[in-house]
Amino acid sequence: MRTVKKPETYDAIIIGSGMTGGWAAKELTEKGLKVLVLEAGRPIEPDRDYVEHVPITEMKFRGMNDRRETLKDQPIQRTCYACDEWASKFFVKDTENPYTTDPDKPFAWIRGRQVGGKSILWARQSYRWSDLDFEANVREGMGADWPIRYADIEPWYNYVEEFAGITGQAEGLPQLPDGHFLPPMEMNCAEIVVKEAMARQFARERVMTIGRSAVLTQTHNGRAACHYCGPCHRGCITQSYFSSVNATLPVAEKTGRLTLRPYSVVPSLTFDQQTRRVTGVKVIDGQTHKVMEFHGRIIFLCASALESTRILLNSATPEFSTGLANSSGELGRNET
């Protein structure tokens, strides 16, 4: 993937190369836009960086993790199961990314700073919401009614899942809508026994179904079927689970309209007084610390819930003294 040194103007700038940034890059480049993806972390080369097939015999602590090192550098990240002896390199160093919380409201902020972000590490379970979810708050008399229902979002579930590839068993349950699944993974013997016992006892009242996940059980859109090595969070050289590195970014790259710039830390956005639009993105190069700016017609904030919020808060102007998109004062609040 190309890297750039000089400020340029793009049709679209996407901040973040993780799950949402990858999707935005794919969609926009496929529609003909010239796109710049800014990623704060380092590049990821699957051949070099993925470690899912490294045997436990080759790990110094044989899977017990470098306890002292992670206690020192990753005291928060290490609480995530995926931050193991192989994959801890896909998590930030907490020492380099400090934050504070209220003492009585601790929050484990699990973060991946690299091309692909946390999409390399996610747990891949993929379930559709139903109207039971979309209407839940209304039924309980809480807050304002959501403006969308399952019927509105179903085509988008289809669109995303068709590309990603979701394995699962169609069950026809109203509370858990089916997708167009790839073949389900087999249950093990104990699971089959439990499933059959539940079916006898509860019929359709209680249904046990195999997990639905973004793992390919057959070749799909040029990506190979899973080979069941197990530790997905360490990478997947066959691109068999869905991540931006495995799926969306390669498609965007293939269009020739993608520029991916790693080591690009975004402190803030530029608001243009004349056009009343966000027109630029400030970047500090993570390696040289050089400050630069890129311009684009559209800016996509895909830097994770908290980072995207931080960028907006840090983009305050004299006119918008509490940050961009924060006239309500609610930006960064009520996050759960």
Partner: protein
């Protein structure tokens, strides 16, 4: 004796008395004949002898090599040196001294110099004490996600022996015959006793 049989016996209460004295004698001879590892950083030669003997008592050579051949002692030394807290290390080393004390009291020599039967009696004592303490309230830390060695000595020793053995090249390749890339998922197939899974 096959590995599965050895494990089955390990699970029985009378595990150590069930094993033949010949096997223990052979184990002891092999242990004494072997050179001490020169790379140990925490375990003294005398402590190492106890670790080697005790780990090999738990996972002896069967159809596949045992804990001694898998150099479980070197793994334990690494964990004690670069992983364990001072408190955990103290519990472990004190446990080794206790093993020697008990063997001396009963048999008038140290653990490493004891016969297989004598060693088995000592280890069985540790095992029974641990089993008896199983229902005691554990420190909060032990029940959380944290991997810790803040356990009684014998629990540490047993765990490190099992981890060290099954994550060694012998344990992975010869014993478990781990396939890094299975290629296919067979969720429910009949298991045959002689087939390695």
């Amino acid at each position: 004796m096959e590995r599965r049989e050895a494990l089955r016996l390990m699970g029985a209460v009378s595990v150590f008395s069930a094993l033949s004295s010949d096997l223990f004698a052979a184990t002891l001879r092999a242990q004494l004949a072997a050179n001490q590892a020169g790379t140990l950083r925490t375990l003294s030669p005398a402590q190492n002898d106890i670790v080697v003997a005790m780990s090999d008592l738990m996972i002896p050579a069967t159809g596949t090599p045992g804990a001694k051949a898998a150099k479980v002692n070197e793994f334990i030394d690494l964990i004690l040196t670069e992983w364990a807290t001072e408190e955990e290390r103290k519990i472990f080393l004190e446990g080794l001294a206790e093993a020697d004390r008990r063997t001396n009291a009963l048999f008038s020599h140290g653990f490493a110099a004891a016969t297989g039967k004598e060693q088995a009696a000592i280890v069985q004592g540790f095992d029974e004490e641990l089993a008896a303490s199983r229902n005691e309230k554990l420190p909060e830390q032990i029940r959380s996600w944290e991997v810790t060695l803040l356990h009684p000595f014998f629990a540490q020793m047993r765990r490190l022996t099992i981890v060290g053995y099954y994550t060694s090249p012998i344990g992975q390749e010869q014993e478990l015959k781990v396939e890094i890339i299975p290629g296919a998922l067979h969720g429910c197939v009949p298991a045959k006793p002689e087939v390695n899974q």
